[in-house]
Symmetry: C3
Subunit: 338 residues, 3 copies
């Protein structure tokens, strides 16, 4: 059960209610009237709690699970603990997400502007916003309705935010337009100058960075992630894209819709990602590349060339997954031969 | 055209004025009286705007460019759109930088100390400084003239900053001396304790970190970059060095003049870089190394040994560029053979 | 000598006092009455200063060292400068740490709550705390005695901190329990949502993150490091673990006691580290792994599989150290053959 110090649980819900909500079928020994009061991991869940199995690595915990009900793929029914109520779903993680959102809805606190917030008179805020202590909102900023701005964050002049945006504490925004339902985690840095200069024997000359950062709806941006504004064109993050912590996105980069960028990824300037690209942790992409739709890039990969739609690459320099592993095997074989 | 919400354009300038300013020769169908009102990228520039071609990857956009004038290398005149006014320069990016600086000069806002800034009475600030809301400036800090300190930044006791320094929002400085015309982007962390401790069976023992961070003139330090202070000697960043976002610089590191450190680079403690070293994104250097003048280290390289002046290395562990690629080819060949 | 602008030195101490304090034997030309006034690096130390040799790379500086006394391994006595006072220790770095702590004790400033701090009336603080300007402490926070909270930091509702905790400036804490004597460097982000969502053709669905971050005693967490809270289980950092700057620790990760995580390491969700694991800079670990006691992971390694206690791995994908270097040699040999 989630610590009530930090979380407050809604519900309870019957198994029937949950089944309908998440679009799953009741299986195993499940009865629709069963009352569920919370969600919990497989290894700690009790008889009035709902759990789920998504990663087969945890099948042993599933077999021994004492949860009141468990969401699971239909083909694993045979592995279920005897008599357990099951919720059969082809996508147990997604079903769990819906159930957990029902038990722990994201409740908007009552609107409040902290007295210590420094808000320029020309800034406009929609209804129902919560602005934390010491927030700084500069001239001509426009913020939609029901936005939450965490303590000690800074929104520089001219930025626009849509509705229901959640800005964590100690975030800085400048030169950006942000869609609705976007979440920015603590320490995210959006819109600062890109790394643009002309180097040479006469020294380094800064190139003014004249673009913006444009972020679509439903984007998440992780803690301490940095997204530089464009140099002339904009830096763009497409709707529904999820960006983890400590990611670097250089100037003029465009990221499509529904992309997933895991922690510590770095994307160099002017590289373009089409929709649904997935990049594993610590991977890096050179500048001025085109990465096609649905490309999958492995963790720690180093991408130095364009990739066509659907490609899956790993390694540094990145190559097709099969080729990479065949080369690994070759090298192992030749080494043993000696 | 840069969004007037965020930028205000100077000018206009005639082609003649720009040519003189950037040290380029008028070519193509250019007439000196042509009036230019802005800069813009190749693909969006219009007839009263100036653009440039630096990376030949964009030559197609150059061929179709509708800009009033385009800065380009002399040997690409033949590829220019018909009748276009050209500015011929051997270093188009540098020339563009100068022009863009003219159109978008870095204007100092009027001096102002925000009423919410917490400034110790013993701190000294030069003329014309702009100190944002909620800035904290501790005892004995000395700040030069025309410095800008962004909202919610903290300058701990004893730090010294030169003239015309620009500190972004949410920056923290301690134990450091900073030259003139330095730019520190949001979330940069300068001068905290290095990662110094004696580990062993009796537990971990912290080693007091007794040095400083000394940063030369004209340095840029990226967003969320971390530079630890020295353990006894200082950590030193030479004049004119450019450091991108999310870079880590350990204690006692010395970086020479005019170096370029791309995003997510990590340099371990007590490593010394001579002048003009260039390090690609996500590369890492072990501690206690000596890296000679002008060394080039590829993105994601892992440097575990000293490098002499002028070396170019890639790979992890890093090796000379030619060797690395020959080895790649060998492995590909042997894998195909099976 | 440490810059008095930033540091104030205690002492002086006699060589006898230091020898007793650090558990070393006086050797060379050392006399117990010798007065030492400071510590200093080998190359700058003078006759009333104490230095040390730990890394043999610096043996030349040791031979020429003019320090009043030098801490060194007993087997290096023969290399000592003529007549120098020596302190013989099997662990010179640890001995130096103790001496340096004596010269530069971590003095607690007088208790003070800055008037600009915004502290919820329900928060409780122990005796002797120092709370900097613009700090935000939310409802039901509990802070032990003698804690120092740096300017512009934010401690969200319900967090608990032990005694003698030092929180740097611009830190954000939420959903966390923190032990005693923990140090959090500037910009550290603890307790934000993990990177948890169900992706799929119907779009991305956020999974509520219902766990906490639990940090043991005597832990250090580096500047701009990010530690996400658990998704259901907690994210746990064991006592005495040292974490460098810009490290990413995903949700549900557990790190044992006495581990060392060098800068820019990334650990994906639900991976478990036993005690005394050491991870070099920029290494990455996949999710859901088990890493045994005392495992050593090289810099930039990419760990994709479980590792048993005591293993030492390098490379990406990571393999045993010996195997990795044999493969390197094989590839070099085959490349030369052509």
């Amino acid at each position: 059960m989630a610590d009530p110090r930090f979380f407050s649980v809604a519900g309870p819900f019957t198994l029937n209610e949950i089944a309908t909500l998440v679009g799953a079928e009741i299986g195993g020994g499940g009865e629709g009237r069963l009352v569920l009061r919370d969600v919990a991991p497989l290894d700690t869940a009790g008889p009035d709690q709902l759990s789920f199995l998504d990663n087969r690595k945890y099948i042993d915990a599933f077999r021994k699970c004492a949860a009141g009900a468990i969401i699971v793929m239909p083909d694993l029914v045979g592995e279920a603990p005897k008599g357990a109520a099951l919720l059969l779903s082809k996508d147990p993680y997604r079903a769990y997400a819906k159930a957990a959102q029902a038990f722990y809805p994201d409740r908007l606190p009552p609107p409040e502007i902290a007295p210590s917030a420094v808000i320029d008179p020309s800034a406009r805020l929609g209804e129902g916003c919560v602005v934390g202590p010491n927030v700084v909102i500069e001239a001509n900023v426009e913020i939609g309705s029901r936005c939450r701005i965490g303590p000690n964050s800074v929104i520089a002049q001219g930025c626009k935010l849509g509705d229901d945006v959640k800005v964590g504490p100690n975030v800085t925004l400048s030169h950006c337009f942000i869609g609705s339902r976007v979440m920015l985690y603590p320490g995210a840095r959006i819109g600062q100058d890109g790394f643009g200069f002309a180097a040479g024997p006469a020294g380094v000359l800064k190139v003014p960075q004249l673009g913006r950062v444009v972020i679509g709806d439903d984007v998440e941006i992780g803690a301490n992630t940095t997204i530089d504004r464009g140099a002339g064109p904009d830096t763009v993050i497409g709707a529904g894209t999820m960006i983890d912590n400590l990611v670097q996105i250089g100037h003029n980069v465009t990221v499509g819709r529904g992309c997933i960028l895991v922690s510590q990824v770095g994307i160099s300037g002017s590289t373009h990602l089409e929709d649904y690209v997935v990049i594993g942790g610590q991977a890096g992409l050179s500048g001025h590349l085109h990465i096609g739709k649905g490309v999958k890039i492995g963790a720690q990969a180093g991408v130095m060339a364009d990739l066509s739609a659907g490609a899956t690459v790993v390694g540094s320099p990145a190559k097709p997954r099969g080729e990479f592993f065949r080369q690994l095997v070759t090298l192992e074989r030749l080494t043993k031969k000696g």
